[in-house]
Amino acid sequence: MKQIIIADDDPGIRDIFQLILKRAGYGVTVYANGETLMENEYTLPDLFILDKQLSGVDGLEVCRFLKHQEATKDIPIIIISASPYVKTIVDESGADDFIEKPFTTKKLIELMEKHLNRN
C-alpha cells in the first residue's frame, strides 16, 4: 500500500482527502502544518501532498526543505493551491507537480499515480 502524507491547515480538506484516498487504496497520514514535517521524525511516505498556503511555514518552504534533505529529495511532492497563478513559483520550489483547487478526485488520483509509478 502506497503511503501518502498530506499537509493542509483546513480540517475539511484533511477529512475528505483522508476519505477519498483511503477509498482509493492508499495509506494516508495528515498534518495540519508544515513545521512537523521539517522538525519531527516520521515514517517516509511514497508521496507528499502539500497545501501551498499553510499557516505558519508555507507549503513551498516545506517543499524546498524536503527537496534538500537526502532522505526526502527523491520523494514526489504535489502542491495544491486555491490560486491557479502560482505555477511558476511552485516550479521554482522543486515541487514535482501542481494542482489547482477545486479539482476532481479523478484528476488528483491520476496525477498521484503518474508520480507514484514514475520509478
Binding site: 475539511g12 475528505i16 486555491a82 490560486s83 476532481t104
Partner: protein, 707 residues
Amino acid sequence: MKKMVEPGKNINNQPPVAEHRDLRNRTNEELAGLVVDLRKVNADSYTSRRAALNIVEDAILSREALRKSEENYRLLFESIDQGFCIIEVLLDKKEKPYDYRFLEANKAFEKQTGLVQVVGKTMKELVPTHEQYWFDIYGRIAKTGEPERFENEAKALGHYYEVYAFRIGTPREHRVAVLFNDISERKKTEERQAYRLRLSDGLRQLNDSDKIQDMVNEMLGKHLHASRVLYAEISDDGEYAIISSNYTDEVSSFTGKHRLNDFGPAFIRTLKSGKTLVIPDIPHSTELTETEKKRYADIDIAAQLVVSLRKNNRFRLALGVYQKTPRNWTSDEIALMEETAERSWAAIEKAKAEAALRKSEERLRVTMESAVDFAIINTNTKGIIEGWNTGAEKIFGFTADEINGKSANIIFTPEDQSNNIPGKEMETARNTGYAEDERWHQRKDGSRFYVSGIMRAIYNPELTGYVKIARDMTQQKLIEQQKDDFIGIASHELRTPVTSIKAYAELLRETVTETGNEEIGQFVVKLDEQVDRLIGLIHGLLDTTKLSEGQLVFSPEKFGINKLINERIEEFRHSVQNHPLIQRSEGDPYITADKGRIGEVLTNLIANAIKYSPMGGDIIISSAATDEGVQVSVQDKGIGIPADAKEKIFGRFYRVRNAQVDTYPGMGLGLYISAGIVTNHGGKIWVESEVNKGSTFYFFLPYNNGQ
C-alpha cells in the same frame, strides 16, 4: 563843362568821380554833343582834351555794352522758366519787415504764382494772407546781405516754392532779388510718401480696430484737408451705416446709426458693387433728388469720395472723405484713398482677428485655470513644459514657475523614466494624434498617485507641441483595487470549501451508483453539475481580477485549432437539443497559444450563442487560416445585440438586457475574460450583429503569440 576840363590841369589821372557820375546820367545825345565840344578845345590842352574825349567815348562805349548786356539780361530774365522778381522789403518803424513791393517781375513769375501785373504793388495788397515768414526771410536777407536758399509753402497761392534770394543794390535800398521755382508737385509726392510712411507706422503700432479707424480718419482728413472723414460699418442687413467715430474740420460730427437709403440709391448701388463713389458737386448732382441733396446739406456735405470695402462678397465697410464745399477729387487723391482703405481694412481685419484670438485665448486661459481637478500641461515638441495650469499645480505639487522650462519627465516615476514611457507617449501622440493611458505618477514630494491621462499632439500645421490632460484617479484606483482584492480573496477562499463539496458530491455519486437508487442518483448528478457551475463562476471572478491587474498567466503550446473546436463542441452535444452545432473549417491551422484558455473562449462563445438564441437555430463555428493567423467565428440566429451595446459587451460585468426575454443568468464576465485572453495573445475579438437576426462573434489569433 570848362570847369570840368580846365587847361593846364592834369587830367591824365582818373577824372573826379562826380564827373563820371554826371556823365552817366547824360543821354547819348548829350554825350555826343559833349564830344564835339571837347574837340573844339585848343591844342595846348590837347592831352587834357584827348583824355576827356576818351572818357566820354568810353562812357558811350560802355553804355552800349551795358545796353547789350542789359538786353541779354532782359532776354534771360524773360525767357527763363524760373520765376524772378526784384522786391523792396518794407520795414515798419521798428525795422521789422511787414510786406514787400514788387519792383520787377519776369514772365515766368505770373505762371509760377498766378499773380499778374505785380510791379509797383505790395504782396499784401495782392495776397493779404501771405505768410509772415516770407517777409521775415526777405527782411533778413535785405539786412544782412547773406543770400538764402529755402523751400516754403505759400498757402494762399496753393503752391510750394523753392527759392534763392539775394540782396542787390545798397543795404539802404532793401532790395532783394528772388529767383524761385514752383515745387508743389514734388512736395505733393513727398507728402504722399510721408503720408504713406505715417500710415504704415500707425497701422503697425495699433492693434485695436477702433483706434486704427480713428487714426486713419485723422491722418486722411489732415492730408486731404477734408471736412470730414469716417469709417462706416454696414449692418448685416445692409440697411444701415454705423459710424463710431469721425474726423471733422469745421463741420459737425456724424457718429451714430444712419439709414443708407437716405443718401440716394445710386450711391448705395455704386458702393454695393464694390466701386469707389466719387461725387465732386452734390448740390449740382443729377443723380440725387432734392430730398437727398437736403440730407447731404444738413450734414455739411457738398462733395464726397467713398471707398467700398467688401468681405465675403458683401459690402461691409466704407471709408468716406467729405468736403463741405464742392471739390474736384484728383486721381491722385482717389488712388490714395483707395490705397488707404485697402491697407487700413487689412489692418482692421487683422486687429479684429487678433482681438478675437485674444478673447478666445483668455477664455481658454480662464477655462484652464478653472479646471482645478485637471492638470493641463503644455509641452514643446521635445517635452519641455511650457504651460502648467492651477490644476497641475494642485495635482503634482509643482508651481508653474518651478516647472516651466523643465522636462515633463519629472512627473513620471523613475521606473517609467528609465523605460522611456514619456518618450513613447509622445511618439504615440505624434503618430496617431492621441495617447491615452493610466499609470502611477510622482508628485514633487516623491509620493505616488494614479493618473488617468490623455495626450494630444498639436499640429499647426507642423508639430508644435503636446498637451496633456491628467486627472488624479488614485481614489478610484484604490476603490477598484479594493474591489479586485475583495473578489480575489472571496474567490480564493471559496475554493477550499468548494473542493470539499466537489469531492463529497463525487463520493456521493459513486456511493449512490453502487447502491442503485436511481432517483437519488439523478439528484446527485444535478448537485454535481451545480457544483461545477459554482466552480466556473469562482474561476471567472478570479480571472477577472487577474486580467484587470494584467496578471493572467498563459502556458503556450502548439495545437490544431480545428481539433480544439471539435472537442469543445462535443462537450455541448449531450446537453443541447434545439441548436445544431455545425463546424466548418478551411485548412487545418496550428497555432501556439494557451490551449486551455483558447478553449475557454470557444466554450464561452458557443455557450453564449446557445443562451442568446432561445428559439433555437443553427450555431455555426467556422475557422479559417489566413497569412497571419487563424480567424474563428461563432454564428447564431438569436436575439442579436443593439448597436450601442456592441462595444460594451466586452466590458466587465456587462449583461444584455432584453425586454422580451428574461434576464439572462450569469455575471457578465464571459466576454470580458474571452476578450482579455484573445488580446493578451496579440489577437482581437469583435462582433457583427443585427437585432432579432443573430450575432456572429469573431476572434483572430496570430500563429505564434502565446505568452
